[in-house]
Symmetry: C2
Subunit: 286 residues, 2 copies
């Protein structure tokens, strides 16, 4: 199976699973579904399933983990787009939640999606639920993703060093990518060495993903991106391209890809899909 078909299968699987999980109709249901089913690439669920394959966890057991990660990722996008945060009108070519509905709805949709994300973990085995909950909360909360967004908002317009930018991204996007690889491994109760290799793999691709984002922001066009081309530069956001130059950023990307591949080598199981994710991240065009 090629990685492209693995990624497509992962995407179809999580779309279908989330569709069934979000079937309850409440006042917020339409806005919740609008924010979850928005044409997202489902990179994090693909990582969850790819890791599940590498650690011998069934895809049925991985479903709630993938959903937990994706619902929390979805909440973060809705809140990051708010006027008080990044103030984005478009996401993937469509109006953001607060433009389609209103700000109060967007705040509540994000809040609700976070609860729904953690709720998915209640469907996982009792033996590991404490550890998965602890790991996901650390990744999502004020030591992880929320901290990263706070640093990002606070640092707009100021000069960050490469190390500061990397620390910000490790929290803002890296922590949830690492969690995508750790959760299935925790449920499968793998050995510590296997967990450490997955952590190194995920650290590398998490940073690579962000660097590729920054490269695409300056090399791709608005239609392909689904948001205005060059918007990070115009918003005075520090990026890897502004710090390292375009060629420097591409060299760093190549190095991180090699790191991810050598970490995948250390895994005892079938790491083909994890390698495929790493290849995809450095070669993607949107």
């Amino acid at each position: 199976m090629t990685f492209k078909s693995f990624a497509q299968d992962s995407q179809a699987r999580i779309e279908s699973y989330l569709d069934r999980q979000l079937a309850d109709a409440t006042l917020l249901d339409e806005a919740i579904r609008y924010s979850v089913f928005n044409g997202g690439k489902r990179v994090r669920p693909a990582l969850v399933y790819a890791t599940a394959q590498a650690v011998g966890l069934s895809f049925d057991s991985a479903d709630p983990l993938a959903a937990a990660i994706e619902l929390i990722h979805s909440y973060s996008l809705v809140h990051d787009d708010l006027p008080a945060m990044d103030d984005d009108d478009l996401r993937r070519g469509l109006p953001t939640c607060h433009k389609k509905y209103d700000e109060a709805t967007a705040i509540l949709v994000g809040d609700g999606l976070q609860s729904l994300g953690f709720q998915q973990l209640s469907l996982t085995p009792a033996a590991t639920i404490g550890a998965t909950l602890e790991t996901l909360c650390e990744a999502a909360g004020p030591n992880g993703m929320v901290l990263g967004q706070a640093v990002d908002v606070a640092s707009a317009g100021s000069a960050l060093s490469y190390e500061q930018l990397r620390a910000m991204h490790r929290a803002k996007t890296g922590a949830m990518i690492v969690a995508s690889c750790l959760l299935p491994a925790i449920v499968a109760q793998v050995e510590p060495a296997e967990l450490a290799a997955l952590q190194r793999y995920a650290d590398a691709i998490g940073l690579a993903f962000q660097i590729q984002d920054d490269i695409l922001d300056v090399t791709s066009d608005t239609d392909t991106l689904g948001k205005p081309q060059g918007s990070d530069i115009r918003n005075d956001k520090p990026t890897y391209v502004s710090l390292l130059g375009l060629e420097g950023a591409r060299a760093e990307l190549t190095k991180l890809h090699a790191e991810a591949m050598s970490s995948a080598d250390e895994l005892t199981g079938d790491s083909a899909a994890l390698r495929g994710v790493a290849d995809y991240i450095v070669s993607r065009v949107l």
Copy 2:
């Protein structure tokens, strides 16, 4: 022990526990602590400890449950105060989080507090963590508190019937009050009949709490309330007082108090503190 001293002990206990749990220093730490340690009465933790006493759960085991509830309650206050929601400048006489800091910080503080709340459940016994997580997520999420706030925001300025107002409050504030009584009972693995009695008790005091809020909004003064007196009326919010009249609301409060007491009678354990909470709710002046 009088209920007053039980409530004071509960308050001191949860303040100290939260102080230790929130010791990590991050960029958001100051704003998180500002929003959690704000002179709150800690009614929900008192309910958790009172229920723990009734079901024979140790207070040490109840600490993370009380913290989970209070952290999620704290997040909801920070988000409810935002300009796009209730647009409140003051809470308990102090600037609300977005006035003290800014809107982006308040959004992120709320988001972070929700993660920290669920994280507390990772400290509870493996045998019941799935059930407590499911219960707390249902109470906090888009079928519970978040739904209630959405209905509340959407219904400002429109006429609600008593049944509609009651359904809104059952979601907005009732669900988390019920969860405060169910979580310790779930961890203690009580019989279904005991759980049902606690549910009835909590339903009654949850509604009573809201009715007393509405009564205080028109009978108390701004200094005592810590927010402008009569603000619900001015904001065109439907209240029990506007629907039932002041005397009608007081009569309903008396009926709910009796319901709570008769439900407490059905419990086999020491329900003195739960009775004390019910007495407090109908007699409180702020």
